[in-house]
């Protein structure tokens, strides 16, 4: 998942015109939206797919025999096939629609973890993780009596891979759960290395791709990971839908997570059996329209090209590091540019990130301030919070310039 430099360039200003959110002024100012890591905006193409589906093809899935129901079902399964291709899974049976990344990870923690973990086993995650790839493992370890450990990170926010040797020697590692890209620092994690480590020790490898899938090509077969989760809303799709890829051999042997309508084979008071993949993991009415619109988002991103998007973000990140590096009293966090995705975290001396973000907002600049659901990492960095700018395909260098102007204003207010 190293950054693929590509010669393709995107025209971000033109792309931006596809996103209705930028047609408005907020507080009298155009948006400088530098918070795509938390959620991306939606192109008209995706919103139209959503509307079109509700207006012409809406229905529940997998059940009705009438034409409208067949249409809805076909659209839903076609979206699954698009996701399969997007991550290069072997079969659509390996693609489970969830609500979001968080649910994908909880699914594995519950459905795999409750049956396969016990005292003496080690669940390994990292200090870099988003709470969503940290707390579910901590919880399932607590419930099963397993030991929960986190691989430490360096002061620059990269994994201390030397720690692996000792962790490996200590034995009993059953799960390695790691993010592909840090949402706070942009760190691009060498997940291949961790997946190999997991398999060498007989553990499953669970990849949090929430920050990777929207920005860089994912190939689950090349990665050889066992599970991989991401969210639709961070990749121009609607809220309410996410994806869990799972290796079919594992999914087949697992208990279901949630149970109910649509995931059963036969139900009786005495015994219930489960439907085949992927339905076994999709209890109840799924986010049908959302999945269809996520399929449209995949088409949209595919039309532009993930390599080109990553290259664009790389340029913006370089520009931002350069600009911010010159700001007095500003501390930058995270790895060097070569190992960093489009995310830049920093702090201004003497001003709390919340106040920085508030003052920037008055300039129309949207950034995130807080712990970014990364409290263990914040503790490692010795801060309670940071201010974070993050980019996407519609981000422009002018937005970075407005960020810089806003930071000057913040310094003045707090002077």
């Amino acid at each position: 998942m190293a950054l693929k430099q590509s010669t393709a360039r995107i025209d971000a200003a033109r792309i931006r015109a596809d996103f209705p959110i930028f047609d408005q002024l907020v507080g009298g100012k155009p948006l400088a939206f530098l918070d795509s890591a938390v959620s991306a905006h939606k192109p008209r193409f995706v919103l139209e797919a959503l509307e079109e589906f509700y207006e012409h093809s809406y229905g529940n899935v997998g059940r009705g025999v009438y034409a409208l129901a067949e249409r809805a079902n076909a659209a839903y399964e076609q979206a699954r096939e698009k996701v399969r291709e997007f991550v290069n899974a072997r079969s659509p049976r390996e693609v489970v629609f969830t609500r979001n990344t968080t649910e994908g990870i909880n699914l594995v923690a519950y459905a795999w973890g409750l049956d396969n973990l016990g005292p003496g086993d080690v669940v390994l995650t990292t200090e870099l993780e988003h709470h969503s790839n940290f707390v579910p493992w901590q919880e399932v370890a607590r419930r099963t009596g397993a030991t929960f450990k986190a691989i430490p990170v360096t002061a620059e926010g990269e994994l201390e891979l030397e720690a692996l040797d000792e962790l490996g020697r200590a034995g009993n590692v059953k799960v390695v759960a790691v993010t592909a890209v840090s949402n706070s620092l942009g760190t691009i994690v060498p997940v291949e290395r961790l997946i190999r480590f997991a398999h060498e020790h007989g553990a499953i490898a669970v990849i949090d791709a929430a920050q990777a899938a929207p920005h860089r090509v994912i190939d689950v077969q090349a990665l050889d990971c066992d599970f991989l989760a991401f969210s639709g809303h961070k990749m121009c799709g609607p809220s309410g839908v996410g994806v869990l890829y799972g290796r079919s051999e594992l999914l087949e042997r697992m208990s279901p997570f949630q149970t109910g309508g649509g995931m059963i084979r036969r139900v009786s008071v005495e015994k219930t059996t489960w439907a085949g993949l992927p339905h076994k993991f999709e209890a109840g009415t799924p986010p049908v329209a959302e999945a269809v619109a996520l399929g449209a988002a995949i088409d949209y991103l595919g039309g532009i090209g993930l390599e080109a998007i990553a290259a664009h973000e790389h340029e913006l990140t370089a520009y931002t590091l350069e600009q911010l590096g010159e700001q007095p009293g500003l501390t930058l966090y995270g790895p060097p540019l070569e190992r960093r995705a489009g995310i830049v975290s920093f702090n201004l001396e003497g001003i709390h990130p919340h106040d920085v973000a508030q003052i920037l907002d008055a300039e129309g600049v949207c950034v995130r301030a807080g712990h970014h659901c990364n409290q263990p990492l914040m503790r490692r960095l010795g801060v309670a919070a940071t201010t974070r700018a993050s980019f996407y395909l519609y981000s422009l260098p002018e937005e970075v310039d407005r960020l810089v102007v806003g930071l000057e204003r913040a310094r003045k207010v707090f002077a």
């Binding site: 025999v65 067949e70 076909a74 399964e77 489960w274 085949g276």
Partner: protein
């Protein structure tokens, strides 16, 4: 697809007078399966010839819609005299009812296709259990309901 295409004479005939209906005693292979969408169930029992791999007798039993029942009936006529490996290799588009609909230019919709393939699926499960032929993908990992 018009309803008349779907419920053409042949299908209704097989539905109303199913061939190879019932359950064989002393079967060499058997399986039971459901279509989870509608709850339809089919049980297949069969006996091999002396070579232990050629289907000599077969019987389907169960309940379901005209499509699932006729498809099983039509299939039962086709597979007698064929080897387990040949049957396991039947592509879904080649199962008799499905093939007929495709040929006539009125292929089944995905949901009805599941009805039409229940018999073939159950048969492949039975052969898999008896002689180890491959399972179709959609039946792998499914907890098989044991045949009593």
């Amino acid at each position: 697809m018009s309803v008349d295409d779907l419920y053409r004479e042949l299908i209704l005939d097989h539905y109303k007078s199913p061939r190879h209906r019932g359950r064989l005693d002393r079967a060499d292979a058997c399986a039971e399966g459901q279509n989870p969408l509608c709850g339809d169930e089919l049980t297949v029992t069969l006996r091999f010839g002396a070579d232990g791999e050629t289907i000599e007798e077969i019987a389907f039993e169960g309940q379901g819609c005209a499509i699932s029942q006729a498809a099983a009936s039509m299939l039962s006529e086709e597979v007698v005299g064929h080897k387990a490996t040949e049957v396991a290799a039947i592509d879904k588009d080649d199962s008799p009812l499905v093939a007929m609909m495709i040929e006539s230019g009125t292929p089944l919709t995905p949901i009805r296709l599941k009805c039409a393939l229940l018999g073939l699926g159950v048969l492949k499960v039975a052969l898999h259990k008896a002689v180890g032929t491959p399972l179709p993908e959609e039946w792998t990992g499914v907890e098989e309901v044991e045949f009593e």
